[in-house]
């Protein structure tokens, strides 16, 4: 199919498939999915600037769908989301400025990839360790200890949340009685800085930060992050479109797949327990880290294979988890009711 705006010929079904895969992962993990979709568009023949702009437009539409679905499920903390948006944009700008400085020194490529790799590795290992600890507590019949671990009781995240930095807000949608606005702004600024530095949306950094530092339940962290992805995606899509670097037809085709995929991902959070979502996210983050390392070491094909394999594998796992949850709920009650919430 010929795309007159970008002057590219590409298979439309592959665009729908990419949209679907990224949509499932995005709706389930609270990610924009740019780290998968942008290289995919580039491989399909779109020049890099068009790949980024078109992906941003598709992320905007897909995040709207996921946010609306998560809102229906009670997973969006609007108050927290608006505070986070205020802190993210300055962070992204500072991160981008650091990259500009590094670019002038000719150091940006390798530096960004190594930082990316170590951030992903540290986060993935931390989440995987926690997932295994929670599972072992549950297997030993100690749900209280597992719950305390998930709430971060006694950890440094909890100590941060107790600091009385005024103003303090309550977040009823997250079940948080009082949290400093400065802590939320700090999380948003830091994760925004990392996102701007690494050139990604930042969902895979923000979701763990909201869970461990702000103390949000997993599903609410996912839904609230998607609200932020929507705002940043809309801003990015508009600025790229102003420069003529968005192929709206390709974006709509990806959105067609993403619409179904993101609904499946968002609904799946209702059927999969929160600690398992963290486990899936940990595995996805670790495999992405491996892909970044492969690229840094010059194994381009391995890097792309790992990236797309992870995305397709994670989507298949999420679809299967949803199907299993629906079947189990039907067996138990005769209707489809999420068991995880």
């Amino acid at each position: 199919m010929y795309f007159p705006i970008s002057d590219v010929t590409a298979n439309p079904w592959l665009l729908v498939l990419v949209g679907f895969t990224v949509g499932v992962c995005g709706g389930f993990f609270g990610l924009g999915g740019a780290f998968i979709a942008t290289p995919a568009l580039n491989i399909l023949g779109f020049p890099m600037a068009y790949a980024i702009g078109t992906d941003l437009a598709h992320i905007m539409g897909k995040s709207l769908i996921s946010t609306l679905t998560h809102r229906r499920l009670g997973n969006v903390d609007l108050r927290a989301g608006l505070i986070l948006v205020a802190g993210t944009f300055p962070g992204v700008e500072v991160g981008a400025q650091i990259v500009m400085r590094l670019e002038r020194l000719g150091l940006e490529g390798a530096t960004v990839r190594w930082v990316y790799f170590f951030v992903l590795l540290a986060m993935g290992l931390f989440m995987l360790r926690e997932y295994r600890l929670v599972r072992s507590h549950l297997k030993r019949g100690e749900p209280e200890r597992a719950a305390a671990l998930l709430r971060g009781e006694g950890g440094w995240g909890e100590r941060l949340r107790r600091l009385p930095w005024r103003p303090v807000v309550s977040l009823p949608a997250s079940g948080i009685q009082g949290i400093s606005v400065w802590l939320l702004l700090g999380i948003a600024f830091t994760t925004g800085l990392l996102a701007g530095f690494l050139g990604v949306g930042g969902g895979f950094i923000r979701v763990p930060a909201l869970i461990y530092l702000a103390g949000m339940p997993t599903a609410v962290a996912v839904g609230t992050d998607l609200l932020e992805v929507l705002v940043s995606g809309a801003y990015g899509a508009f600025t790229y479109a102003l420069k003529g670097r968005v192929d709206v037809l390709a974006a709509i085709l990806m959105l067609a797949g993403g619409a179904v995929g993101s609904q499946i991902g968002a609904f799946a959070t209702g059927y999969v327990q929160g600690y398992r979502i963290r486990g899936y996210l940990a595995a996805t983050i670790l495999l992405t880290a491996l892909s970044v390392l492969s690229k840094q070491l010059g194994f381009q094909v391995v890097a792309y294979a790992l990236l797309f394999g992870t995305a397709v594998g994670a989507s298949a796992l999420i679809v299967l988890a949803l199907a299993g949850g629906v079947r189990a709920a039907r067996r138990q009650t005769g209707v489809a009711a999420p068991s995880g919430r």
Partner: protein, 71 residues
């Protein structure tokens, strides 16, 4: 459909501001319609939020009383 693509291609060539506004509105519009269609399809397939989840959401807690839906 073909006419719309041609119109967008003309705006992309002659008036990028108009093209940017049309892009954002079109993608958001398609997103809302697609969300409704996909949600309807999934509801028909038997996938829907439970009464319990809705009650929690409307009470503003966003989580089940026991463990926040974590396990």
């Amino acid at each position: 459909m073909e006419a719309l693509v041609q119109l967008l291609a003309i705006w992309h060539r002659d008036n990028l501001t108009l093209y940017a506004v049309a892009t954002v509105l079109l993608v958001l519009g398609v997103g809302v319609i697609a969300a409704s269609l996909a949600a309807g399809f999934l509801t028909l397939a038997g996938v829907r939020p439970s009464a319990g989840a809705r009650a929690c959401a409307s009470a503003g807690s966003g989580r089940t009383p026991a463990d926040g839906g974590e396990f």
